[in-house]
């Protein structure tokens, strides 16, 4: 805490400062150097992030979009794996916080030409960045990068490990729509094995007092997922009436069809959201998807577009919108805590 405080006092004061100091009281401990995983965050820390995101969202509603939290700070977005949605969300968040920002998308080929990840990060480190946002196809890569840089590293999704800002924006959206996470039941449907979104959401919802059930073909439920706090179910219809929010994960068609289930059609029959299943949901339940969606595979188009009335609603676009506020909160907290 003292190191934290010293840093703050030497920084030029800004409008978010008072708010930040107030929030800081809520921390049970110092933030980790990097934002790599929900697993190592406390409930208080998660709530602090969500509260700050709420503050940003409210200010935006009042027309106050631009902030100076990261003025004079260098932010590098490094997207080793392409992702339009997450990248633009982080870019917008960085701009709104007045960071000096650049985005690079290293080609896998340049790394294979003998330049290692380590070489590359050490080169970027020479420019003295304050924040690095990293998306990478390999589990653990942001942590490896963090070990080569003094910058705070924010994980924007690594392999099948974690995607912390996605879980935070999901939690934010559920809290916004349902009032709280405590006691709420999140059902995650689909490819749990390869999903970083599922892992981060399991941690986030369990820490916030909710409960999580993972549903999918047995081939896509990884062993020991229960140890992370989730329940497991293979029958979607059995669990749907008990869900407060149902999150459908994207099916990577290329990866799955060979081994994990016989066909997309069969997958959709057992695990897709359709009208019958929609009717079985609680009226106030939320239908979520981290995107990008395969229309007609994970969710029927009419439901995805929210054209059915008088029942559970999709909040997919709310998720996207809240993504900016949540990422602003993360960048602000980690950019300043540095």
């Amino acid at each position: 805490m003292p190191a934290h405080k010293k840093k703050l006092n030497t920084n030029p004061p800004s409008q978010a400062e008072g708010f930040f100091l107030a929030l800081k009281e809520k921390f049970t401990g110092k933030l980790p150097k990097d934002c790599l995983e929900i697993k190592s965050l406390s409930r208080n820390q998660i709530e602090t992030i969500l509260d700050l995101a709420q503050e940003f969202k409210e200010k935006e509603a009042r027309g106050q979009k631009k902030h100076e939290d990261l003025k004079g700070k260098a932010l590098i977005n490094i997207f080793f794996e392409p992702s339009t949605r997450t990248r633009t969300s982080f870019e917008l968040a960085g701009r709104r916080l007045s960071a000096d920002m650049m985005t690079i998308a290293p080609q896998a080929s340049s790394l294979s030409k003998g330049e290692s990840l380590k070489d590359m990060i050490e080169n970027l480190e020479a420019m003295g960045p304050d924040l690095m946002v990293v998306r990478h196809a390999a589990s653990g890569a942001p942590g490896l990068i963090a070990s080569y840089t003094k910058a705070a590293v924010v994980n924007a999704g690594d392999g099948s490990h974690e995607h912390p800002t996605q879980a935070l924006l999901d939690a934010f959206t559920v809290k916004e729509k349902l009032g709280e996470i405590q006691g709420k039941h999140l059902v995650i449907v689909g490819d749990i094995s390869y999903s970083r979104v599922a892992r981060s959401n399991i941690y986030a919802f369990c820490k916030l007092g909710g409960k999580v059930t993972c549903v999918g073909p047995a081939t896509l439920i990884p062993p020991g997922i229960e140890k992370m706090g989730a329940k497991v179910e293979t029958d979607l219809d059995k669990i749907l009436p008990h869900a407060d929010a149902v999150m459908f994960l994207r099916i990577q068609k290329e990866r799955q069809e060979k081994m994990n289930f016989p066909s997309i059609a069969e997958y959709t029959r057992f695990y897709g959201m359709n009208r019958t299943r929609w009717a079985a949901l609680k009226k106030e339940a939320l239908i979520m998807h981290p995107g990008p969606i395969n229309r007609g595979v994970e969710i029927e188009p009419e439901i995805a577009d929210g054209r059915l009335e008088g029942g559970a609603q999709t909040v997919i676009l709310d998720q996207v919108k809240n993504g900016t506020a949540v990422r602003m909160a993360v960048l602000s907290l980690w950019g300043r805590s540095k």
């Binding site: 380590k118 390999a138 653990g140 942590g143 490990h161 062993p223 020991g224 992370m228």
Partner: protein
């Protein structure tokens, strides 16, 4: 040349001796030993008071990386690491570049070993040409050139018919067949155990069954072909059960376990620790405990290091990209002495596992014991000296160990090969 080793606590399970003896060595052979030896003239005297004197350790499983990967290890540096760990004979695997799949490479290795190695180096030849698992390597000619067995270690021979034929053929030359048991269709070449830790880390895992399937297959093939089968680096409790049952049926099968599978679990991978990336992967606690029981009840034949040196740039990468394996020659004895310190086994049992048994598996009658007439290959260690594993001090060219910083008890003071001191640390 005469050497006298005085006042040492000699442990020789073959000679069934465990007590204070003086040992006389003459012309590279053990001459005699008695409670107190009076010798008029000797060239060298080692005072082994407070030290344990045992037959030199024998490692059935090392990777020396020469030819082809000299930046990781050479025959010379690997042999120095061996000597520092009390090993006097090491068996080196065929996955060099080029692969040791023909007599020219075998001769290169044996010649190099004669010129530069400070311990005995015995090569293993490949089962298949270029380790591709497609066609048989020049097994007979390599046998003439001095290989002691065949193995595609690093790869599994997935073609069962080729494995069968190779075992039959090797039997004709009296060669053992060393199986790297890993169903590659099932394992996905994974270097992480399938289970809760892999799930949490988002790494794809290789299940125990990937190993057990091939152990079961190769035991069946050993029964079919009557070949001498040796299961390398056994990691799963199911494999141990298969080997136990086969031994009880009288199948000619032996097995080894590594110190890392005995003393580490998949928990060691947390933090994406690439030094814990190895195939077969570090398994669960239940597996490690089962292997230790296998050692206690004598079904495990030997502890082998699977010494696998890699340069730091090959480990400072994403976990899934990291080179597999760890160095082990310089930490093996001190780690395994834990079994004695924990009273799991007696010291003489450990020496049997690390010297007498591997000598027997290799068919080396003059090694693995200090009986008069045997080769004067000797390890002398202080069983009580504590030390911290500092990879920067390794004789090996590589530092990839998951045991860095561990505090261990038991330190090699002298290593004697062929009656000559090749390593001393006093």
């Amino acid at each position: 040349m005469k050497m006298l080793i005085k006042n040492g606590h000699v442990v020789d399970p073959v000679a069934k001796k465990d007590g204070l003896f003086d040992l006389l060595i003459e012309d590279g052979k053990i001459k005699k030993w008695e409670k107190r030896l009076r010798v008029d003239t000797v060239d060298t005297i080692i005072d082994a008071k407070g030290l344990v004197v045992t037959p030199g350790l024998i490692d059935l499983h090392t990777h020396l990386r020469e030819p082809g990967y000299e930046y990781k290890e050479t025959i010379k540096t690997g042999s120095m690491a061996a000597a520092a760990g009390g090993f006097t004979t090491i068996v080196c695997m065929a996955n060099t570049n080029p692969v040791n799949d023909n007599a020219v490479i075998t001769e290169f290795i044996t010649k190099r070993a004669q010129e530069e190695a400070i311990v005995n180096v015995l090569p293993i030849g490949a089962i298949s040409k270029n380790l591709e698992g497609k066609a048989m390597a020049d097994i007979g000619q390599m046998a003439e050139a001095g290989i002691v067995g065949i193995s595609d270690d690093g790869r599994c021979v997935m073609d069962t018919a080729l494995m069968r034929k190779s075992m039959q053929y090797a039997r004709g030359f009296g060669l053992m067949v060393v199986s790297h048991a890993e169903d590659e269709c099932l394992s996905g070449h994974g270097s992480m155990n399938e289970g809760p830790v892999a799930t949490e880390l988002g790494l794809s895992g290789s299940p125990n069954a990937a190993e057990e399937l091939i152990v079961a297959r190769d035991i069946a093939l050993a029964e079919l072909t009557k070949a001498k089968l040796h299961i390398a680096h056994m990691s799963s409790r199911g494999s141990l059960e298969l080997v136990k049952a086969a031994k009880k049926r009288g199948v000619s099968v032996t097995c080894e376990v590594t110190p890392h599978h005995l003393f580490l679990t998949d928990e060691a991978v947390r933090g994406y620790n690439t030094n814990a990336s190895v195939r077969p992967p570090l398994r669960s606690r239940e597996d490690a405990l089962a292997l230790r029981r296998g050692i206690e009840d004598g079904f495990v034949d030997t502890i082998a290091t699977d010494h696998a040196p890699h340069a730091s740039f090959e480990k400072e990468v994403e976990f899934a990209q990291a080179a597999h394996g760890m160095v082990g020659l310089e930490t093996s004895l001190a780690l395994c002495l834990k079994l004695v310190q924990d009273r799991s086994i007696k010291l003489s049992q450990l020496i049997k596992l690390m010297s007498a048994n591997p000598a027997h598996i290799l068919g080396l009658k003059s090694k693995g014991t200090l009986k008069p007439g045997a080769d004067a290959d000797i390890a002398i260690f202080d069983p009580n000296e504590k030390w911290n594993v500092d990879p920067t001090k390794f004789y090996s060219k590589s530092r990839n160990t998951p045991f860095g910083g561990w505090s261990l008890k038991g330190k090699i003071k002298y290593t004697v090969v062929n009656g000559k001191i090749v390593y001393e640390n006093i």
